[in-house]
Amino acid sequence: MHNKSVAELSRELESGNVSSVELAQQFLDRVKREDEKYNSFITVSEEQALAEAKAADEMRAAGKATPWTGVPFAHKDIFCTNGVRTTCGSKMLENFVPPYDATVTANFRAAGAVCLGKTNMDEFAMGSSSESSYYGATTNPWGLGAGDKRVPGGSSGGSAAAVAARLVPAATGTDTGGSIRQPAALCGITGLKPTYGRVSRYGMIAFASSLDQGGPMARTAEDAALMMNVMAGHDPKDSTCIDRAVPDYTATLNEPLKGLKIGLPKEYFSDQLSPAMEEQVRNAIREYEKLGATVKEVSLPNAKLAIAAYYVIAPAEASANLSRFDGVRYGYRCEDPKDLMDMYTRTRAEGFGSEVKRRILVGTYALSHGYYDAYYLQAQKVRRLIQQDFLNAFKDVDVLMSPVTPSPAFAQGEKTTDPVAMYLEDVFTIAINLAGIPAMSVPAGFVDGLPVGLQIIGDHFSEARLLNAAHQFQQVTDWHQREPK
């Protein structure tokens, strides 16, 4: 069962070959048996999962089943789950059990899906390796066979590793600068960062509010489409969530790709990209040509400024978003504060890890008096230039394709001492968040036995087209079916 996709499990449940409770128990047993190797879960919520599975069986018996009823999955530990600890990978929230659900959580709950637990992540989603988690690093299932301990990417590394290791068929993720796509690429699975505003952020713990977006992580594009059918939609509780009709993302998966116009941003095929990686990506693009697509080179002249703009905007927003973690109403509070200032400064010094503190300090500095115009305002202007580049490109082409990462999964510890080297990991993904457009990572080959991701980028609200392009590719390739040994 563990090798089956969401769509396949849904059919098994529908046909009565297996019950929701049996399925949940099988997957829970597998998580308990296997996850020691990966540390992809922070919390396994067995009791609640079995209760949800039982309710799912009843829902089916009552004739109210959806495609998700009884299907096991996991949430990134950034989505608040009523009654289940939600840590965001931080000591700050070690004992935080929210009395409410995120909208995404509530949507899966309403569909009857069975959440097995909460997956590991970089603390407060700040990182590209899932090593900054207070609950220990997650290990990439790929490379383990060769004895290598490689990072799964981040920040949604726990979700990516759990899906790649067949602990769950699908998991939610969030992407602020590449946090769905980069781990999806490094773990050989399929991930989609939707258009900003397509998925509600309510109850999703904020890192950088104008960039954060929740999205699906699964093995196939079809499963990602099934997840989007549950995740996407207007939410009156999120002011930035767009009120726009949600299509059935599975309905257009089989559209032919003949005539699809693909643009290749020349800036994303630069010398930062290793030749072996480039070869895999170009091979994938050739598959698209075989499917009838045409290819041309395009330019995103301001893309080179994306990392600089991002590392002003994201830390600035984060510095304010994380002020609520002050030890007053919930979460960690330091022992025996001698006064109010001491409570604040020690609570936050002890409760946050070093990368989170670095970003809060950078953001505070960028917003502080005398630097606002040079940093924050300038970054917002550059952000518009970057978005303009993409919108111009989409006048000529339907989608853009590029690598997701400059290189395959790196070794644990390799970049932890050099924050800037870690930041450059997101060089091909970050501009997409600034522009607010959707993009996918699709398994597209291997380098040195490690997965390579193809990035497919679309115009605002073009998720259905991206999923269609990914699905068609997955009909003629099997990279997404490869299993780590």
Binding site: C80, P98, A208, P236, T240, S323, D326, R329, S368
Partner: protein
């Protein structure tokens, strides 16, 4: 040296919305601590703000009533600082693009002149919670019920030059927002709080002096005292050749003392930036027209009407039109009492004095305008004397009886206006006071005669057990004594 006083005000006006500015929590005052602080108000992880439509409607009504530009596009920003009563660690407020642009309010001064005070802008923001300073084993308690209550912060130009002007502005603003119904105006519950910016400059100089800001004054009286206090403090410093430090000060009204809270050098770096959880708010014509249609009569319009419709003088019209509830009480009184001047006198006299003495507002009055009106009718038709009317008022106020005529009967306050009975009493009294009658008749000075007439009134009132109509007694006396 002679000094000019320059005053600007920042006034926090709590809006009378049902719910908070960014959440559906109730704003009702006086609930048990933290029972009206929900996930958004508590800044629980992942919570997001959704702005309240009525907060914007009220702000637009305020714009319309102060001849202000309406911010067609307004933007919320985050003002970052840590305080236990500020759950998010930032206050969501407006800075560069506020909802209310430049406008003005005209104030009336005691000398009968009026003055225009310009409003620089007014913006929407959220209120903080409260730190309670009772001791919990050396700790403070935090109640976040108030956190997220919508405020309009009105920022004036430094157009006021005395405590009198500042207080007149504050009262006019109070009158305006309560008339609009956008604020309950209850100062004791913090519905209006004042920050006062004060500087001095040599008389006639164009250059503004260094200013201080005295924060969080919650009554007109404290505001007035604080201004006098701060003006004197600055004057003492300047006349000793010292310099004013730009700083924020706290005034203690009970002790008439102030102290520095922080200087400019220590000022917070608030790191304002546009709130990424909220989008720009755009106000369209339809929204404005709807708000305009819902505008009630404003104090200035009402004052003009009171003069016109009830024949009140400028002063009476000003006092009675200023506060919506008082104005409504007056109109109810006139409706039942007919005589507007008499109603105006009673409301500004006995009624207001009694409210003040008991620290009550019009809303808490135990008597209604209809009851006072009924009393006014009985005063006007000479059924009761003014002394008797005060006894009726007392009985109404204490709730002894609700009906004016019943009180008059029960207490025997009805004036005797039967001429025959009164004439008999006059005859009797004059007969008992032959010396005074002779003196009167020998007196030529009309003024003195008039005074001497008063000497008969006491015995007459006594003879009538206080119930004789004094006016009639007077007429009969003059006639009987021969002019």
């Amino acid at each position: 040296m002679q000094w000019d006083i320059v005053i600007g005000l920042e006034i926090h006006v709590q809006l009378a919305t049902r719910t908070k500015i960014f959440s559906g929590s109730s704003t009702a005052y006086g609930a048990e601590p933290n029972t009206q602080a929900n996930a958004v108000d508590l800044a629980m992880p992942g919570m997001l703000p959704v702005p309240n439509e009525n907060a914007f409607r009220y702000a637009v009504m305020f714009s319309l009533a102060t001849n202000a530009e309406i911010g067609r596009r307004s933007v919320f920003e985050r003002k970052n600082y840590f305080y236990p009563d500020l759950p998010k660690g930032y206050q969501t407020t407006q800075l560069a693009e506020p909802i209310v642009g430049p406008g003005h309010i005209d104030i009336d001064l005691a000398d009968g002149s009026s003055k225009r005070v310009r409003i620089h802008h007014a913006h929407l923001e959220e209120d903080a919670g409260k730190s309670l300073h009772e001791d919990y084993h050396g700790m403070s308690g935090i109640d976040l019920n108030r956190a997220g209550t919508p405020l309009v912060e009105v920022v004036t130009e430094p157009d006021m030059n005395s405590a009198e002007e500042a207080v007149a502005f504050a009262k006019k603003l109070h009158s305006l927002v309560t008339s609009l119904g956008i604020c309950d105006g209850d100062m004791s519950q913090g519905s209006m709080r004042f920050d006062v910016n004060i500087s001095l400059k040599p008389k006639g100089s164009d250059e503004l002096g260094t200013r201080t800001e005295t924060k969080n004054l919650n009554s007109f009286r404290f505001m007035e005292q604080a201004i006098h206090h701060e003006v004197e403090r600055q004057m003492d410093i300047l006349e000793d050749g010292g310099r004013i430090v730009q700083e924020t000060r706290l005034y203690n009204g009970d002790r008439d003392e102030s102290r520095s809270m922080r200087t400019k050098e220590e000022a917070n770096d608030y790191r304002y930036f546009p709130c990424p959880d909220l989008l720009p708010v755009e106000i369209d014509d339809a929204f404005i027209e709807e708000a305009r249609a819902s505008l009630p009569e404003l104090p200035d319009e009402r004052k003009a009407r009171f003069k016109d419709q009830y024949g009140l003088n400028d002063y009476d019209a000003g006092v009675l039109s200023g506060e919506a509830k008082l104005a409504a009480f007056f109109e109810e009184t006139v409706q039942h009492g007919k005589d507007a001047k008499l109603a105006a006198n009673w409301i500004q006299g006995e009624f207001s004095a009694r409210l003040n003495a008991e620290e009550k507002s019009v809303a808490d009055s135990p008597i209604s305008g209809a009851q006072l009106g009924a009393l006014v009718v009985r005063i006007a038709d000479n059924t009761v004397s003014s002394a008797g009317a005060k006894k009726v008022f007392e009985a109404l106020w204490t709730g002894e009886n609700e009906d004016v005529d019943a009180i008059i009967d029960e207490k025997g306050l009805k004036q005797v206006s039967d001429t025959g009975a009164l004439e008999a009493m006059v005859d009797e009294v004059l007969a008992s006071m032959p010396e005074q009658v002779e003196q009167y008749q020998n007196e030529d000075n009309p003024k003195k005669r008039k005074k001497m007439l008063g000497g008969f009134m006491g015995p007459l009132m006594k003879a009538s057990k206080g119930q004789g109509n004094p006016k009639l007694f007077n007429e009969i006396l003059v006639r009987k004594l021969g002019g």
